[in-house]
Amino acid sequence: MFKFKNQKIALVLFLFSLFYLIMSFNLPRYPYVPVDSNFVPIGLGFILMGLSVGLYFVKDKPMNVKDKMNNKIPKQDLFVLLTVTFMVIVYISLIEVLGFILSTAIFVFICSWFLGYKKHVLNLLVSFIFPVAVYYLFTVGLQVQLPKGILPF
């Protein structure tokens, strides 16, 4: 029943619209306006529900040859993507702890290395100069504070 890609997507969207609708119906009421805050969400929920049913019956389009990346990601690439995602998450979680300069330097260096950047010296240079330059451009030049972290300066 959910054999084709579109049918699977339709199922996910249908469940999402159901979830969204339930939340919409549970929004608190505000008695002083003719049209309450749940009006548009309820409408959107039903529209998405309708569209997901429609999608169920649309046949999958044969894949274009040029969109070959769209079709299937080789396992190895998937691993690379997940690793980079993981690195970004670690980077984000450290940004306010270590500070912008340090966390960015470490991230840029390791991430570029991991993706196959061979010029290590240049990499090291960029990894340190780039965040320092950006940091001072923001904090001194633009008065926009980036996390200082553990660096003493």
């Binding site: 505000y30 008695p31 002083y32 340090l102 470490i106 260096f109 290590h120 090291l124 008065q143 926009v144 504070q145 553990i150 660096l151 003493p152």
Partner: protein
Amino acid sequence: MKKLVGILLLGLIMIFATACSNSSTGNKENGGKFEPKKAIEITAPAGAGGGWDTTARMAAKIFNDEKIINQNIGVVNKPGGGGAVGWAYIHSQKDPYHLFVASPPLLLVPLNGQSKYDYKDFTPIANLIADYGAFVVRADAKWNNLNDLFEDMKKDPSSITVVGASSPGSMDHIQFVKVAKAAGVDIKKIKYVSDQDGGALTDLLNGSADVYSTGIAESVEQVKAGKVKVLGITADKRLEGDVISDFPTAKEQGIDATFVNWRGFFGPPNMDPAALKYYEQKFKELNDSKAWADIRMKNGWNEYFMGHDEYIKFLDQENKSMKALLDELGLAK
């Protein structure tokens, strides 16, 4: 190569870690006197360019320019949740180097149930300035004073639309509700529309809305140009200034209600009394400086200084009256 980099990094981190621990042990107070030993951070719980941000940046600038405080003062923006994100951030700070700027939303947002921290969770230091609400109608409107308007509102509330720049339960709405209630209007029947992004004044001018609830500064130019008239302001007594002195207060029209859009500075929870005293003194100096008076005039802000003790009493009272209004509207959580 890998090892080398690793060792280098580790070394760097250790150097920074020790440097850091030095600086944090360096600011213990001795003998009840407080003198800042590192840079001070003022948080504006909103994005760049707004009222909180401007007040914070201007105060920081005068503090440094006039050498009232000799430590560097930086302004940090923590926008989100109408202030709630910034307050949560300050609440997590323990040292007296984190101040923030606040105004009535610090009362209203928690009362609306949108922030778990309210003014009682912080240390009020000093209030500096105030603005007042103005109720504006088109120049050709049939009402000439607040009583005319409120009489019509009592007769047919559905025929009059009030517009403001913020959502129900926030400042523009509540200042109007407060005065209307004192005039005997059923505040549950007030038709209020919120229009952000500069649309509110347009709505008034093109007739989509009938009354615009806003600040005094926003209405002056339009009054001068003869496009609108101010039916009443929420100040205690008339203010000084070209045109502004013509704006009647609600009070003199027999409606016993005021609304102050106060703006002042707060510190983290349970601030060290010595530090509190220090900052209170410094804000007093700021308030009395000519440079600040200049800023006040340029921005159209009114002087409204309150020290710590007076501020707390004021806040308690304000909070009570806000809560009563929100309770009646069913908005309080």
